[in-house]
């Protein structure tokens, strides 16, 4: 049994990224879309950590980056949810297809 190496992890993160992206493209619920986005960000986190661990173990910049990403993702989610709430107030819906008023 081969040890888990960088390619495996990258494969995982790629899969995760595209699952997130697929979710973002197809879900209609704004909250679910937000969750899909988190998935994408997390896959990036995995990337950073993996690169740090396997390729550049001498410093921790990748890991630090991940911490910041997590923080900012939280902030982003907070603002996004506030916006969703406001949208829900005005249209009684959190379906993304109900927010297509402006186009062309």
């Amino acid at each position: 049994m081969t040890p888990v190496g960088l390619p495996h992890i990258l494969l995982l993160s790629t899969a995760l990224f595209f699952i997130g992206m697929f979710g973002f493209f197809t879900r209609r619920n704004l909250i679910t879309m937000l969750m899909s986005l988190e998935l994408m960000l997390n896959s990036v986190n995995i990337n950073f950590v993996a690169f740090n661990k396997y390729l550049y173990p001498q410093n921790l910049s990748g890991v630090f980056f991940v911490i910041f990403i997590i923080t900012i993702a939280a902030a982003e989610a907070a603002v996004a949810i506030a916006i969703i709430i406001n949208l829900f107030r005005s249209s009684d819906s959190i379906d993304v297809t109900d927010a297509e008023e402006m186009k062309f």
Binding site: L37, N47, A75, E76, M102
Partner: protein, 470 residues
């Protein structure tokens, strides 16, 4: 050391100070009048505008993560000026708004984020700055809480920007994987030229492209511009775009210098798309904010072709163009904001016969549009000419021809509005609109800026003096 740190971080410190001031003194105190707050913030911003004159020298702080030099300080001043003008131009709207403090808190935070972003010498710092600049804007876009369009705009902005952040981060992670470093200088030294690095570059590029509204990453722009309140739209369109363009120049010329061929090809493709689509969409718009959104997309196309030219000319041309763009676009948004706020009219057809009652506003809007179109004697002419001159410096004449053709299309739609203002007559034209004195001053500053920046050569020379080989 301490004093030097103070000078290096003077813009950031001042803005932070303003934010704290607002947070701790005014939040919750109901008896402070909106106008007072506005004047205080304006005064602080005015100081920030002139900061670039003091001690503009090269220095690094925060363990080489934060860079400052004369050019960067000048750029920061430009951004401060942008916000100052927006604040002055939307005085009427802000004065009666109950959430004026929150408005400033959001925009000042965003501005602070931009300052960090510009000064970043490290991917982490850049990312932080970028997010700090973006997230408050999503909240600000939703500032008209009761308007549904405003909510939709904010939603589109935050989702699109989160999506683009994810891709940008993926790109950064690849860059990190390839080089093991987040520092700009180190990345540029270590980055290999292979398929993966090019892919990583495209991802990072897309992140910038998103913020700059480059086709095909631009689709959020028009919707957000239309839905957001005019001052926010103005901020998005001018300050935010200028900030990211400043960084883009640095990143392309500094970090990805070894990928010059890749970025040139990418730029060639997207710049053509950007000019063409921006123009084609702008032609057809009825909502004037949406119209300006597309027109600003088309303007970005010209910046992109300049980026393909030789570095010194390109850098100074772009900064100069953005400076001019601040004045021109803000004058346009200023007039539109005044009308939107006092009459609630945002359609191009509403401007028929505008000149009958509002002479000053008409001329301000017309000159702003001329400047955007690049007609002399306005500075827009010089800005655009220099961009194209820069693009030609490496011999991309075909692109110049395409740009020139696009300028004709853009001319059509700018003149369309001028035609409505001056030539059409309307049964019931817009009544005379009261313009606040401070707003008038701001408009006059914009007009002077639009005229003088071009005719008075030393402004460009000042910028050009910063341009140096990367």
């Amino acid at each position: 050391m301490g004093l030097e740190l103070l000078f290096t971080l003077k813009h950031e410190l001042l803005i932070s100070l303003s934010i704290f001031l607002l947070l701790f003194i005014f939040v919750g105190s109901n008896h402070t009048k909106g106008a007072t707050i506005i004047h205080i913030v304006n005064a602080l911003l005015l100081i920030s505008v002139f900061f670039f004159l003091f001690e503009p020298k090269q220095s690094f702080v925060f363990n080489q993560m934060f860079e400052s030099n004369g050019l960067i300080q000048f750029q920061k001043s430009i951004l401060s000026l942008g916000l100052l003008l927006i604040s002055a131009l939307s005085f009427q709207w802000l004065k009666h708004h109950k959430n004026v403090i929150e408005f400033y808190l959001l925009l000042l935070s965003s501005l602070l984020g931009m300052f960090f972003m510009i000064s970043a010498a490290n991917m982490l710092f850049f990312y932080l700055g970028l997010e700090l600049a973006t997230i408050p804007l999503a909240a600000a876009a939703n500032f008209d809480l009761e308007k549904r369009k405003s909510g939709e705009a904010a939603m589109k902005l935050i989702y699109s920007s989160a999506f683009s952040s994810a891709l940008l981060l993926l790109g950064i992670s690849f860059v990190y994987g390839l080089t093991g470093s987040l520092n700009f200088t180190e990345i540029s030294e270590k980055i290999p030229v292979n398929a993966l690095s090019q892919f990583a570059f495209i991802l990072v590029f897309s992140g910038f492209a998103f913020k700059m509204s480059v086709v095909p990453f631009h689709l959020w722009t028009a919707d957000v511009y239309e839905g957001a309140p005019v001052p926010v739209t103005a901020f998005l369109s001018v300050v935010s775009k200028a900030a990211i363009s400043f960084v883009f120049v640095q990143v392309l010329f500094k970090v990805f210098i070894h990928l010059e061929l890749s970025y040139t090809i990418s730029l060639a493709v997207v710049s053509i798309c950007t000019m063409l689509l921006g123009n084609l969409f702008a032609m057809r718009q009825e909502n004037i904010k949406r119209f300006l959104a597309f027109s600003s997309i088309a303007q970005v196309g010209y910046i992109l072709i300049a980026l393909m030219g030789s570095h010194e000319v390109a850098q100074s041309a772009i900064i100069y163009f953005l400076l001019v763009y601040v004045f021109s676009n803000l004058a346009a948004f200023g007039v539109i904001g005044i009308i939107s706020n006092s009459l609630g009219k945002e359609n191009i057809s509403d401007y028929k016969g505008f000149y009958q009652q509002n002479k000053f506003l008409s001329w301000a809007l017309a000159i702003a549009l001329f400047s955007l179109a690049g007609v002399p004697p306005t500075a827009g002419f010089f800005g655009k000419f220099f961009l194209i001159l820069a693009a030609a410096s490496k011999g991309y004449y075909l692109l110049i021809v395409i740009a020139a053709l696009n300028m004709i299309i853009s001319f059509y739609y700018y003149l369309r509005i001028v035609r409505n203002i001056f030539m059409e007559t309307s049964e019931n034209p817009m009544p005379q609109v009261l313009v606040q004195p401070i707003t008038k001053v701001a408009l006059i500053v914009c007009l002077i800026g639009m005229i003088v920046l071009g005719l008075y050569g030393p402004v460009y020379e000042y910028i050009a003096a910063f341009a140096k080989p990367f």
